[in-house]
Every structure is written in structure tokens, then in C-alpha cells.
């Protein structure tokens, strides 16, 4: 059930059976969460971390005027609040964007896991470091790329991350997020997101029907986004 996480970590460095077993041991039973529900609320203190077994979630922050900014979209195999092992108090909330299955790991157990397994600890540390790298790419896209390039960048990122966990292939994948959610992630209005998608459709770069995205011209998409996948660290290397 924690296969996606193992696949992701194994994509970065060899994971031995002992480590896999240790990881499995800290995870609690699968829990179902309905779309729209908070998995972790803003500002709370937590004593456990959460692994996504299936579904999409978002880190978000709400402002006084009710506007929301999503700072990362997470998916199957992501340890969404691993950072809370070190920073107990949440600086943001995490909401289920679709129906999700999750599993918890207590900080006490995780603490023992990282104490006993140095190599695995470094891989988990790496995972939090990659979160930061994703944040930086979003910052660059938000601050200095055009809205269209920003959207293209997000599509490229989602495709690659889904591909790692077997939920994307041949430039086809499902992204069951509303345009309002995408707007909150991109820092744009829903209307503008809609027009950008229309533009990509019109140029024949993608089709997007329901949740199903088909990238017809990947090269063009990556070119508009100036997409460089280095930051996702999807190659195997001793860590």
C-alpha cells in the first residue's frame, strides 16, 4: 500500500529490504478522507506525519480577506507533512482536493526510524529538500514567467510526478482539479485560468476533457514553460 512512496524513493537511490520493511512498520492503517476535508488544519500542532496512498491534496494558506493560495499540490506517495517531524506547528493547512486514502506515522516512530536508519533518514530529508525546490520553481513561475508559461510549467511538473508513481504515461494523465483550484495554485483568477487553457487547446498543445489531459506537443509545452526537470531529482544517485 505504501508502494508509491517506495517507488519514488527507489527512483532516487537504492532502497534495501530492511529499509522498506522499517518504513512499512511505522505506517498506520489506511484511512479514507473525503474531497474538501482538511487533512491537517492551519496553525495546529501535530504529532504524526501523513502519507498519501491515493488522491490529490494541497498545501494552502488562507488570508484575512478569504483568498486562498495553494503552495504545493501533493499526490500518491507524497509524505505531506514530514516537515512537522521537526517543526511541529503547521504554518499552512493541507486539504484533500479529491477523495483520498492516507496513512499516518507517529512522530515517535518516525524519530526512531530516522535514528536507526541513517540512509533512509537522508532519503526522507531529501524529500523535504525537494519540496523546497518545488516551491522555488513555483516562485520563479509566479514572479517572472507569463501566466501561460506558469500553467505550462505546472502541467509539466504534474505529469512527471505522476509518471513516477505510475499514474501518467504516453503524455496522458488525469488531473481531477477544478479551474478554481488551479487558480489558487497559480495565483490567478478562475476566469484567467480558463482562458489560458483555451489558448493551449487552440494552439493544439493539449486536450483537456474532464480530468483527462493529453499533451499533444510535449516539446512545445516544455518550451513555453522553459521546463527543466532537474529540481525533481528523478535520477538514481547514492545519497
Amino acid at each position: 500500500m505504501y508502494n508509491a512512496l517506495v517507488e519514488k524513493l527507489a527512483r532516487r537511490d537504492v532502497l534495501d529490504a530492511v529499509e522498506e520493511a522499517a518504513l512499512a512498520r511505522v505506517l498506520g492503517p489506511a484511512v479514507r478522507v473525503l474531497a474538501g476535508r482538511d487533512i491537517v488544519s492551519e496553525h495546529v500542532r501535530v504529532e504524526q506525519s501523513t502519507l498519501i496512498l491515493s488522491g490529490f491534496t494541497a498545501r494552502y494558506t488562507t488570508l484575512a480577506n478569504g483568498r486562498r493560495q495553494i503552495t504545493e499540490i501533493n499526490l500518491t506517495g507524497d509524505f505531506i507533512d514530514l516537515h512537522s517531524l521537526l517543526m511541529k506547528q503547521m504554518d499552512h493547512g493541507i486539504v484533500a482536493l479529491t477523495d483520498c486514502t492516507i496513512a499516518h506515522a507517529s512522530h515517535a516512530d518516525l524519530r526512531k526510524l530516522v535514528d536507526d536508519h541513517g540512509h533512509l533518514a537522508r532519503l526522507l530529508w531529501l524529500d523535504t529538500v525537494i519540496d523546497a525546490a518545488i516551491h522555488r520553481q513555483w516562485l520563479v513561475a509566479m514572479g517572472r514567467r507569463s501566466a501561460l508559461a506558469h500553467l505550462c510549467h505546472l502541467i509539466c511538473e504534474m505529469y512527471l510526478r505522476l509518471e513516477v508513481v505510475g499514474q501518467a504515461a504516453d503524455h496522458v494523465f488525469d488531473l481531477p482539479l477544478s479551474q478554481a483550484v488551479l487558480g489558487d495554485a497559480l495565483g490567478l483568477s478562475t476566469v484567467h485560468v480558463n482562458r489560458l487553457i483555451g489558448e493551449l487547446r487552440g494552439e493544439g498543445v493539449i486536450t483537456w476533457v474532464g480530468a483527462r489531459i493529453t499533451v499533444l506537443r510535449w516539446d512545445r509545452l516544455a518550451e513555453i514553460a522553459e521546463f527543466d526537470p532537474t529540481y525533481l531529482r528523478l535520477h538514481r544517485e547514492p545519497t
Copy 2:
């Protein structure tokens, strides 16, 4: 010479003499870097991490059209590329914004340090986790706050971070960054940054003469920014 780092870590959790000594041992001699020079270039692979002993640096990414986005401003006591211990390949560059003094620590030595000192390792991990939290705050400010609120948020953050290392007190501090640099950090044009500063001056919120910023009305500044310092984790707690 590494006092600022020790002060910062000690602000978060008790650091014993053994840990302090171990930290000192991995650091090489102080090196001078002139303003404008790259400390680490984009895309390169590195085998050492860098601690700022004095001065200001910026993480940045350059786009094809020459525009630049700064994703974090770093200062005295910051381990600017600690993440490279785990992700060797840089996904961004680091430039000296002012003349700086820095010290290097080889990854081999750092690796041994984190292997031998679990608690210290967690504090360093925490430091990278806080970098991610800072990125998230910038994302929120960029995506959903007004340009004015974004600038105010940056001023609040810089003040608190400088205060930790003894470079700010009584709402007065030096921020020797040009408005062009601030624009690259905020994702705004230089002209607009200039007008925002004028607005804050006009409202009597701050004075800003040369590099010297005096916050006359901190409450107002924090209110505009909706600033909540939780993300900087500046309280002591076992980690």
C-alpha cells in the same frame, strides 16, 4: 566566527558544547566574496556547503529572456546550500548581494557530522525545512497579497531574521539592497518597488535612508502584511 549560526540554532533548541565544537570543526577558513559575484552558479554540482559569516546573498534563477527571480534572501548565519548535501546538483544560483565573508564545509565532513550527531543533524534538517516554510510564505505573498503587503511582509521577515543574529534591534536595521534587487525578490518592477516604498514613507510607517530602515509603526506594517512569524520557528523547543 560561526557564532551567528550557533545563535540561530540555539534559538530553536539547546546546543551543547560538543555539538558546537563539531560544527566548528567542519568549517574551513573564512573567505571573502565581492558583491555581485556568484557564490554558487546555477546548474553546477557541488561537493561542499557554504555558511554566510557576514553579508547578504540571494538564491536566484535566470530565465531565457534574462529576467531574474530571487527565491530567498540569505544573511549572516545562514547555511545557504546545505540542501546540496542531499541534492548535489544546484537547481538555482547563489549570488553575493553585498561583500560577504563565507566558510565552506565539505560534504564528506558534513556527512560524518550528521552521522555522528543525530540531534545536530535534526537541527540542520530543521533549517532546510524552515527554508521551505519561507518559500511558502513568499508564494502566498506573491500569489494572493497586494504588492504593498508583499513588500511589508518582506520587511517584517528581514527584521526578525536579522534580529536573531544581532543585526537588528528597536525596529531599526540595515538592508543594503537596491530597489532593483528587491524587485527581483518581490517579482515586481523596480519602478513599482520605488512607488511602494514611497507609499510606506508617506503613511509614516517607515523611514528608509540609504540602507537604514526604521520601522516607525511596526503594528501597522505587520497588519498590512498580515505577518505571522510562526514559520520562522524562533522559539526554543526540543527537536
